[in-house]
Symmetry: C2
Subunit: 450 residues, 2 copies
């Protein structure tokens, strides 16, 4: 195996800085990986056809120091189709190991670790994580109350929840009428209120419906709200509802001690997911899902046709990931995640997240220091305020100098500056803010002229 | 853009031979791609943030000549998240173009082309293609008969159909009791018989159930059966059933004129899929799905939250692929398929498939030439025959000289030698056959001793 030494962090004005896509380091390592794979193809006939290993062979052997892109190259180069353990013991065991590592980094309770009876799997997307957990509890519930009651099942979330939940609910065959996005308010920081949840559940029960699933979010897309996991799980538990915690973009940040409290209460949930492909230095697709009760997934999703019979599966000592996900075939996604974890380690990954949080705070500081932009009162009334922001965003994006997006939160049109991209630095924030200032000032002039 | 000339085909004893993974060519092109991407990262700030193009900008510009691995490297290197047109016009338009190209290569009727009102999309797996088409027709049907009838919907297929259909039916919330794998027989070459289908439908209607979906297969996994598409579509049409044609591994071969007849009758189907990642020189994941009526998909799968509002979508002139698939985010999979098509062209792709078919015929010829292996009568009775084959397979795989699998077809235990791998040549078939002969002879000796 190639031994790639990493050399892509620098000291700069603001302290230690990880440069995960330094172009010269990328070039050096990329060429080494190409040679590694070319040698592999050249000598492919010397490798055995059949896995020669026993379950649990891998934990004692893992090490390495190369990252995401190289992981994807290996994934493509090997083209492993690891639907079950026997098809690729390495792909299966590496994934289980990496998911336990990550669970430890996030301080997830041991009930989510393989070693504690739970376990993790890498899905393609949060949609898949939603769909599979919805299917798991739907089948469990219907086996008790009868399939004819499928149209009585209810799914809860807040009105800030990502719309992919609604899509997954649709695909799972649950009635769109029984999808309950509960209203949140600015005074509650757009968090889902446990008492509102309880009220919704009681009303549904009175109407003869069956509460099934609750999605709590750590870091909503539009409003960055963090739902209070502990109290929400308490309510859900009373009514036998499956709780999924979706921390799609924010989850990765919880490896930092100062942000871990956002996950407080996750011990009461049934499943938890975050997307390493968002803020964790991996590329699409890499959604990490943990469940406390893998049998809920495998009971609903397993298929064991004759053609896949094998002694490893019969031994019940191995994980067959095809029964933890939607499809049967699966890419060896654990490779890239493993390489990211090995290459950077928890300290550098924390530095990376903390660096972005500093950039976000810097942009907040810039905004607060601008008298005009900091006070909405420069715009005559609320309606004009939204109109102003809409025009401002269009003007900024049309300039080509930056690309920003918007959200409507509590009726207010908000412009977003996302600072989670790998290449982002202070100078980019400064440049983006200058752009906002210039376009806002130009627009304000036209406003006051009218 | 890099200009990579291809140089990986050779003349050999059996004529022209494409070597899609020649290690030295891989090395040369891989290094060029690394430099291309390193230069891209080095100069990333000179590129505009925002797409500057109008819908349909791409058809006039496509060209290139590099293949799958390089496509995956580009896909990872750019990490495009093209859920809708505006997020990545290039990813969207290239996918539409490539799917129309492929539709033409397969001579699919124009009703499956974008230009004919249909269209194609790249999914991760056949499971996803099943699930999305099932969801499409399920929602359409329930909007007519009412959601409370979900447990009455019936899905038909043959007992040879790939088990991923059963899994998709489970996930879609359709009752497992209403999954109808219709029995096939050896005398029918394991094809699904149209009259058996009709009988099953009539029985279900009499029981008050609702026929919904039929899956026909071109090339079943265990028995390589090809269902008679025309007559099956005729029966389905009478009862308003959605017909999906699954040609997972065999579909690619239908670009050859001599195999195209396997798709005869596909014009009566509603959707068609094949996996380019099986026998079409791309790696996981690349399932190509075409539908005649994209609105059936988009009506069931679309989500249009405020945050994704954009003028392109509002114009209704663009494809938003998030509404054609399970998840929202999607990898730029079209790149690798586009590079494969451009690099090899239809002639070389046909040569590639035809080369494998010749290898399969060669192994058939070797088998027929062996008096013992060619006549099952050397084994006392049917039961022993299955037992013999089971022991033979175990002995072959344990030797490490080859990796074969098995299927039970019509009660008979069959050993498979799959010859679709990229590196397969005549010498591998000869070696594998010698291995089978040696192990069979050794095993026969122990049999006759008892």
């Amino acid at each position: 195996m190639v031994d790639l030494k990493l050399n892509h962090s620098v000291q700069n004005g603001s302290g230690f800085m990880l440069i995960p896509l330094d172009h010269e380091e990328f070039r050096r390592q990329g060429h080494m990986m190409i040679d590694f794979l070319a040698d592999y193809y050249q000598n492919i006939e010397i490798y055995p056809f059949h896995s020669q290993v026993e379950p649990d062979y891998l934990p004692a052997r893992s090490n390495g120091s190369i990252a995401n892109f190289l992981g994807e190259m290996l994934c493509t180069g090997f083209n492993t189709v690891g639907f079950n353990w026997i098809a690729s013991p390495a792909a299966t065991e590496l994934e289980s190991i990496v998911m336990d590592w990550l669970a430890k980094m996030l301080k997830l309770p041991s009930s989510f670790h393989f070693s504690g009876g739970g376990g993790g799997v890498i899905h393609a997307s949060t949609c898949e994580a939603f769909l599979c957990t919805l299917t798991a509890i739907r089948e469990k519930k219907l086996s008790v109350i009868g399939r004819e009651n499928l149209d009585k099942l209810v799914v809860y979330c807040s009105d800030q929840t990502h719309f992919s939940l609604k899509k997954s609910v649709q695909i799972a065959g649950i009635s769109p009428e029984n999808f309950r996005p509960i209203v949140t308010t600015k005074s509650d920081s757009f968090q889902l209120c446990p008492e509102s949840l309880r009220l919704a559940i009681i009303l549904d029960l009175e109407a003869g419906l069956v509460p099934l699933y609750l999605c709590c979010t750590v870091g909503t897309t539009s409003s960055t709200a963090v739902d209070p996991l502990g109290p929400l799980c308490d309510v859900a538990k009373e009514y036998g509802i499956w709780v999924h915690v979706d921390a799609a973009y924010a989850g990765g940040a919880c490896i930092c001690p100062e942000f871990r409290h956002f996950l407080d209460g996750v011990e009461g949930a049934n499943s938890f997911s975050f997307n390493a492909h968002k803020w964790f230095l991996t590329t699409l697709d890499c959604c990490c899902l943990w469940v406390k009760d893998p049998s809920a997934l495998t009971n609903a999703l397993s298929t064991n046709p004759e053609i896949l019979n094998n002694k490893a599966t019969e031994s019940k000592q191995v994980v067959d990931y095809k029964d933890w996900q939607m499809a049967l075939s699966r890419r060896f996604r654990a490779l890239k995640l493993w390489l990211v974890l090995c290459s950077y380690g928890i300290t550098r990954l924390r530095d990376f997240v903390q660096g972005h949080v500093k950039l976000a705070k810097h942009s907040e500081w810039l905004l607060a220091g601008d008298k005009k932009l900091g006070s909405p009162s420069v715009i005559p009334n609320d309606e004009d305020f939204n109109e102003f922001n809409r025009n401002l965003l269009e003007s900024i994006n049309a300039s080509g100098g930056a690309r920003m997006v918007y959200a409507v939160v509590g009726g207010v049109y908000v412009i977003w500056l996302a600072v989670g991209a790998t290449f982002f630095e202070y100078r980019h924030v400064n440049k983006a803010f200058k752009l906002v200032q210039d376009h806002a000032n130009a627009l304000l002039c036209t406003y006051w002229k009218h």
